[in-house]
């Protein structure tokens, strides 16, 4: 871990740049400005990329081209960024549908749970038990509360933790490649390449 120290310092810059590219940058935001909008553009791209490394059980979709439901629960921190980022894109041939809701819906495939729902997080996880829904949150302790992917932002630098176990329980398969990128898994697997 000490050996990796220097590398970690390089990473945030790379991620910021990456986010800048991937999210079609909105007006008024320049690179290197640690604005909220930039942070969420990166996070929106993350959501899309997570979808690519997750395998949903076939029962989650009624057809091969059934849209992938990306839902935002609670107060939406993205604004239009999420729609902009995901517009016209597809995952495994499925178009993406963005929905916003105040109550969890089991028809969602990927559910972003806003920090506004922090207090009832255990309840929500309880409600979603048995449903193959990838839950993404940005609260510290989101995984501990039963969430699957926890976005960690440190200014511009966006990372994530993942709980493959929680995902397995929901019937989702998380690609090892994604797992290997997770901050918590890096810590756990240590020197594994």
């Amino acid at each position: 871990m000490t050996a990796r120290g220097p590398q970690w310092r390089v990473l945030p810059v790379a991620l910021v740049l990456w986010g800048t590219v991937l999210g079609a940058a909105g007006p008024g935001t320049g690179p290197g400005e640690g604005t909220r909008a930039d942070e969420y553009r990166v996070k929106a791209a993350f959501l899309f990329n997570f979808a690519k490394f997750i395998e949903w059980p076939s029962s989650s979709f009624s057809g091969t081209t059934t849209p992938l439901q990306v839902c935002v629960l609670g107060v939406d921190p993205f604004g239009s960024t999420l729609d902009d980022t995901l517009r016209g894109r597809a995952v495994a041939g499925r178009p993406i549908q963005v929905r916003r809701m105040t109550e969890p819906d089991r028809s969602c495939h990927l559910l972003f749970i806003s920090t506004s729902e922090r207090k009832r997080l255990p309840l929500i996880t309880e409600q979603l038990r048995g449903a193959s829904i990838l839950t993404v949150g940005e609260d510290d302790g989101f995984i501990a509360a039963g969430g699957m992917i926890e976005l960690i932002s440190d200014g511009d630098n966006v990372q994530f933790n993942v709980s493959p176990l929680a995902a397995e329980r929901a019937g989702l398969h998380v690609s090892a490649r994604l797992v290997s990128l997770a901050a918590n898994q890096r810590h756990a697997s240590g020197g594994r390449r």
């Binding site: 790379a14 991620l15 690519k52 490394f53 990128l181 390449r193």
Partner: protein
């Protein structure tokens, strides 16, 4: 190079060929194997790199998706397991390198941009570039480059091994072929050696050692057969050459003898030509002779040159007609009988040349003696039908013809020349006679060119008659040189002749027109002056006498001294009317002038009788 190779021995050529062939085959095989090796190696390397790039690409998709360079670096670090790979990189969609791998010790540098996907091989190495696709979307590019150092090392090793093998094989081949080529080259070398011996010694009886039944064996057999044929032809050629040499020798001998004969002929022809030239010159000489004595002298002088070794004589029929007399003789053995009767000579009798080659022949002329030799030849000298005499020859032995046949031709030539000579001589003698006759019949005196006495007599006769008929006078001057004998005695006859010629020239100048000057005989001259009276005649005679006195005659550029004449004058009709009377009267007057002291003119005394006779026809 090729030249040198062509000249090299077959033994050596075979060895070199075998070694070269071995080396060539091995090199070609090695080349093929090397090429195969390279191609295979490259293909394997390419495959390997493709697989590696594919793995790296797939393993980098997440890292690319989340821009995680460290993960990508981890993935690329796996390339270190493959020693041939020296570079590896993952680029994002913008072509920026996300992570890279550089093998330890590699000098290559990661390109700033990935470049077009594909496989490339360059001097730097083999490059494989692949797009990285995630869920159908291209998310980046993977770049892998392997060094070809291993290939080079392999090729080096392979090349070294090949060289070693080729060299070893060449050496082994050389050693083996050095032993084996003898089986092929030895018969050829034997054949070549035999051929060389045959050529150098020209010994066609040599034969090459026959070998097996292969091409060389057949060649040896054919060569031997050829030698047999050459030997046979050579023998034949030698025989022909010998016979040819003999023929050439005999022909040469013939040619030499023919040449000798020709030389003799040429000599003879030259001799004949010379004789003919001499004969011609002699003929001209003879024609120029003014007396028979000169003719005889010329012949006597020329004969030894024309007939060397022979003797002879010129014998003339005397005027009496009953005696032959030798006038000239030449040579060492001229005819001995110099005077004989014409009947004694066959040639003279028959008027034809008479050759006798046998001393005992009955046809031998009676005028010949035994000393005259066995071969005699008489030629009659005929001219204008007259037999003038004979040329006699006592032929000596042949001088120019060394051989018998030459003697005969020599003989005939001599007789021919002798006949021609006889003709020339006869002609010359006849000419002289004719000239004498002509001289006697001439009207002109040959010495002075004046009319002669005979003409004077004829002319005077005629003129006298005419003078009588026309009753005109006519005078006659009788002129005599004073003391003429002294001129002859002092200066010889030539001196006297010179005086006479001078005088006659003066006479011709002095008397012209109808006057006629004549030489009367000796130193006496007569001038007939037609229509001149006695006074007139006397005056003109005096003029002449004075003029003569002034004359200075020269003989051989020396003055002969004073010349004077005495003149007697006679006139018709005073001193007679006949030529005889006139001449006699003038002569008498001349005597008187001489008696009176010479160098004077006297007129004849008048004859009354004559005068009366003249006046009779009626002068009065």
């Amino acid at each position: 190079m090729t030249r040198w190779f062509e000249d090299a021995s077959i033994r050596w050529k075979l060895t070199v060929l075998m070694a070269a062939t071995t080396a060539m085959v091995l090199t070609l095989a090695a080349l093929a194997m090397g090429t195969y090796e390279v191609v295979t190696f490259k293909r394997a390397l390419e495959q390997k790199l493709t697989v590696v790039a594919e793995i790296v690409g797939r393993n980098s998709t997440a890292a690319l998706a989340f821009g995680d360079a460290s993960v990508a670096r981890d993935v690329l670090a796996a390339l270190g397991a493959e020693p041939s790979i020296e570079l590896g990189a993952v680029y994002d969609n913008d072509g920026k390198p996300l992570a890279s791998f550089v093998a330890a010790g590699a000098e290559a540098v990661i390109p700033r941009t990935p470049g077009e996907p594909g496989n490339r091989t360059s001097a730097a190495g083999m490059t494989v570039i692949r797009p990285i696709v995630l869920d159908g979307e291209r998310v980046g590019t993977v770049f892998v480059q392997a060094t070809l150092g291993e290939l080079r090392a392999r090729m080096l090793l392979f090349g070294g091994l090949t060289l070693l093998v080729v060299f070893t094989c060449a050496v082994v081949g050389l050693v083996l072929s050095a032993g084996l080529q003898g089986r092929i080259s030895q018969p050829i070398l034997d054949l070549a050696n035999t051929a060389r011996l045959v050529t150098s010694d020209r010994n066609f009886s040599l034969r090459a050692t026959p070998g097996g039944r292969d091409e060389v064996g057949v060649l040896v057999q054919d060569f031997n057969r050829m030698l047999t044929e050459i030997e046979r032809q050579d023998h034949q050629l030698r025989q022909q050459q010998e016979s040819l040499t003999e023929e050439v020798a005999s022909r040469t001998a013939e040619l030499v003898s023919a040449n000798e004969r020709l030389t003799v002929s040429v000599k003879r022809v030259e001799h004949y030509a010379e004789q003919i030239a001499q004969l011609t010159a002699l003929g001209q000489l003879l024609q120029s002779c003014v007396s028979p004595d000169e003719v005889f002298g010329v012949i006597q002088d020329a004969m030894p040159g024309l007939f060397p070794g022979d003797s002879g004589s010129v014998t003339i029929l005397k005027a009496s007609g009953n005696l032959m007399e030798t006038m000239a003789a030449w040579g060492t053995n001229p005819p001995h009988q110099r005077v004989f009767a014409p009947d004694e000579c066959w040639a003279f009798r028959r008027g034809r040349p008479h050759l006798v080659t046998d001393a005992s022949s009955p046809l031998r002329c009676a005028h010949l003696t035994p000393e005259d030799g066995p071969t005699t030849f008489c030629v009659p000298m005929m001219a204008q039908g007259d037999n003038v005499g004979i040329l006699q020859f006592n032929f000596g032995s042949a001088v120019h013809g060394e051989q018998a046949d030459a003697t005969a031709s020599e003989q005939s030539t001599r007789t021919r020349i002798a006949s021609a000579l006889a003709e020339h001589t006869a002609l010359a003698l006849a000419n002289l006679r004719l000239r004498e006759a002509l001289r006697s019949q001439s009207i002109v005196d040959s010495l002075t060119g004046l009319f002669n006495r005979r003409y004077l007599e004829n002319m005077l006769e005629r003129e006298c008659r005419r003078a009588v008929r026309s009753k005109r006078p006519l005078s006659v001057l009788m002129i005599d040189v004073d003391h003429f004998k002294q001129f002859n005695d002092t200066w010889g006859h030539d001196g006297g002749d010179a005086v006479l010629r001078e005088l006659s020239t003066l006479l011709r100048a002095h008397f012209r027109g109808d006057d006629i000057a004549c030489r009367y005989g000796g130193e006496e001259f007569v001038v007939v002056l037609t229509e001149a009276s006695i006074e007139n005649a006397f005056a003109r005679a005096e003029d002449l006498r004075k003029e003569v006195h002034r004359l200075v005659a020269e003989h051989r550029r020396q003055p002969l001294g004073s010349v004077t004449v005495s003149v007697g004058v006679a006139c018709l009709p005073e001193h007679g009317v006949s030529p005889e009377d006139l001449i006699a009267a003038a002569d008498r007057a001349l005597y008187r002038a001489k008696d009176a002291g010479r160098n004077r003119t006297e007129t004849a005394s008048v004859s009354a009788h004559a005068l009366a006779r003249f006046s009779d026809p009626g002068l009065a």
